[in-house]
Amino acid sequence: MTTQRPELAALSVGDVVATRTIELDRATLVRYAGASGDFNPIHWDEGFAVEVGLPGVIAHGMCTMGSVVGVVTDWVGDPGAVVRYGTRFTKPVPVPARGAAVVDVVATIGALDPEAGTARVDLTVSHEDVKVLGRAQAVVRLA
C-alpha cells in the first residue's frame, strides 16, 4: 500500500486521471438504504415509485454520489484527502428489477490551486449517455 499521492506539479487542467464503470442493481439500493438509513420506498418499491410519477425504482442520488467518488479516493490514495465534494442531482437513475443500471464515470482535473495544495477533480457521470450528476466536483489535498 503506497501512501504516495499524485504530484500537484505534474497535473494539468483537463487531464483525465481516472475512468470507471459502476453497476447499480436492486441489491445495491437495498444495501445502501440499510447502511445510510434512507428508507424512502421510491428506492425499493416499484408500485410506490410509479404511483408518485416515477418511471420505476430509482437509485438514491446519494448512492450514486457516494459510489462514483471512489474513483477519486482510489486515485489520490487517501480517502481523508477529499476536503470538499458536492453535486447537483440532474436526472434520476432508473434501476431495473433484473440486471443493473450502468453508470460511467470520467474524472478530469478541473482546477489546480498550488497555494492551497489542492486539485479540483470534476466528475462526468452518465447513464445511457445522459448526465445524471451536475457540477460533481471533489477537491483533494495533494500537498
Partner: protein, 158 residues
C-alpha cells in the same frame, strides 16, 4: 386535499445541538461496502493508521448519515409543511474540515438556510454543522464537517 407548501417562516431557524452520534468502525465498513468503496483505509485499521489516522476513515459522503438524522428535526416536523412524497433531492455539498474516523463522537447543529417558493415549486436548503462532542457534554468542540442539502418540493398542481 390541501395544497401544502413548505412554511417560509422556518428560514433562518437554528436547532439545538443534537445528541452525540457515535461513529462505529463496523458502520464505516458497512457504509463503505454499500457504495463500493474498497479503499483499504475504510476497512483496515493498519492501513488507516499507516496514513496517519487513529482508526478507519469514513468515505467522503458518510456524513450524510449524521446529517439526515439532524435534518429530520426539520423535514419530519408537520409544521414545516414538507410533503416527502413530493420531494426531490436537488443538491448536496460536503466540506470536511478534518476526516471523520471510527471512534468519533459527533454532534450537529442544524440550520434552515432558506425556504423559497416560485409558482408551485419550493426549494429548501439546510446546513448541518458537525462538531466533535465535548467529553463532558459541554459546548461542541472541533468543527469536523459542513453538510449542505437542497430539496425541491413540487406543489399539488405541478
Amino acid at each position: 386535499m390541501a395544497n401544502t407548501l413548505p412554511d417560509t417562516g422556518f428560514a433562518g431557524r437554528e436547532y439545538p445541538v443534537t445528541e452525540p452520534y457515535s461513529v462505529g468502525r463496523e458502520k464505516i465498513r458497512e457504509f463503505a461496502a454499500s457504495v463500493g468503496a474498497m479503499h483499504p483505509a475504510h476497512h483496515d485499521t493498519v492501513v488507516a493508521r499507516g496514513l496517519g489516522y487513529p482508526d478507519v476513515v469514513a468515505p467522503p459522503t458518510f456524513a450524510v448519515v449524521i446529517a439526515q438524522r439532524a435534518e429530520s428535526q426539520y423535514v419530519a416536523d408537520p409544521a414545516a409543511g414538507i410533503d416527502f412524497s413530493r420531494v426531490v433531492h436537488a443538491d448536496e455539498q460536503f466540506t470536511h474540515h478534518r476526516p471523520i474516523v471510527a471512534g468519533d463522537e459527533l454532534v450537529t447543529v442544524l440550520h434552515v438556510d432558506s425556504v423559497t417558493q416560485r409558482a408551485s415549486i419550493s426549494m429548501v436548503t439546510t446546513r448541518c454543522e458537525v462538531f466533535a462532542a465535548a467529553p463532558d457534554g459541554g459546548a461542541p468542540g472541533e468543527h469536523v464537517a459542513t453538510v449542505t442539502s437542497s430539496l425541491v418540493v413540487r406543489g399539488e398542481d405541478s
